[in-house]
Subunit: 221 residues, 2 copies
DNA sequence: TGATTAATGTACGAACTGGTTCGTTAGTCA
DNA sequence: TGACTAACGAACCAGTTCGTACATTAATCA
């Protein structure tokens, strides 16, 4: 994840603000996600960086703002993935399934992100509230979901009365829980939800669940 | 939540080990769930108790063991609720829905429990692993789910190929996420998943989702 | 090329925090 | 009723942790 190259200059590193900031963010992401906000150690972050603690305060101001910056970058990654999604040429059922799988894949590939979000929820999202950037950008996925939903409903395929936000919550819940609660669930019920040989099983389960919900015959209700 | 009465004796409280322990657990539950494990302050717990920090170490040994005791008690509450569940006289569809609603109601009513479990996952379930008690007791809900599932499948009502653990995961994911991610979800998407006027909406959505999944026509797959 | 400033490193300290030491007292039971 | 012990309280301590004051050097540009 170290996103920078060092030209190995004799007599020490060259000065590069962007590189230093990125390196601090990389290490801070690991440390915060490892130990939570209060459990994370600023000294530990500095030690695992090729720079010093002084730079953390120079660039970010403090532990709190550093955590906010870490969150901002983590969210930008998934927003990016959502933006690159191209499913609106598919039929509604395939499109929703594909979109759900994107969330599934992203959450599985980024357990650090999941942990950061869990931590942020313990702190009642106070850093998100304090972040201009995170308040501004919405979720590209929501727009996509909204359009697919409209198409599916118009054709009579989708019967469920949900909006994009609720459907996004349903998909996220499944994908998030699988990663976030992996450890307690495993310890209590003896099943590893993130075991690689079960990956396709749960990925299919998610799609089946969402599609079944959207297309269910509600005549009997 | 303070589960004890004080007889208001002149000249100070009477001695009562059970009451003191329970009071410490009550306050510790709040403090841990408020701030996480590392963020929780032993001094703060002691201060909000009618006893002293000395007693925490006297009865529990340390911060780590105190957290384990808090977790044990929190889990015992939901296990109790599951044990009292009586749904096997219902038809499979109604039984599953009722069981899902039990989880829904419990999680909503116990946000502290949700936070504790989130915290425990940050710490990779190390306290559960260290707890004899939590390892021993399974989940009464799993047995119930297993029997309902068998009945439903035999009658041809349920078509989905899931076992009790996976279905439990699906239900838990929805109920847990709604409470655990309430703050980030609200901050980012502007919707309060735990708003009281939306309660019935999400409660129905959960049941619809699970039943649709279990009874979906899979001929087209 | 000399001045200016962004970027960086070292050392330190004040406040906090988990845990302990030492001493006291209420209840109990022979 | 007197000895014994479980229950309790106050003060303290050693290690830690966030943050900063002070000093320095590499890049830039007039």
């Amino acid at each position: 994840m170290t996103s920078v190259e060092e030209p190995a200059r004799p007599g020490g590193r060259t000065r590069d603000a962007a590189r230093t900031k990125a390196e601090i963010l990389d290490v801070a992401t690991q440390e915060f996600s490892r130990a939570g906000f209060a459990g994370a150690r600023v000294d530990e972050i500095a030690a695992r960086t090729s720079t010093t603690k002084r730079m953390i305060y120079y660039y970010f101001g403090g532990k709190e703002q550093l955590f906010t910056a870490v969150l901002e970058r983590a969210y930008s990654v998934i927003r990016q993935a959502e933006q690159e999604l191209d499913v609106e040429h598919l039929d509604p059922v395939a499109a929703i399934r594909r979109l759900a799988e994107l969330t599934f894949d992203h959450h599985e590939a980024h357990p650090d992100f999941i942990r950061l979000v869990s931590i942020e929820n313990i702190h009642e999202a106070e850093h998100i509230a304090a972040s201009e950037e995170l308040g501004r950008i919405g979720s590209p996925a929501l727009d996509v979901i909204g359009r697919i939903l409209a198409t599916g409903r118009k054709s009579g395929l989708f019967t469920a009365d949900v909006d994009a936000v609720d459907l996004h919550a349903m998909i996220s819940a499944f994908c998030f829980f699988r990663v976030s609660n992996r450890h307690t669930f495993g310890a209590l019920f003896g099943r590893d939800l993130v075991a690689s040989d079960q990956r396709e099983h749960y990925r299919a389960m998610l799609g089946d669940m969402v599609i079944a919900y959207l297309t269910a015959d509600r005549a009997a209700d």
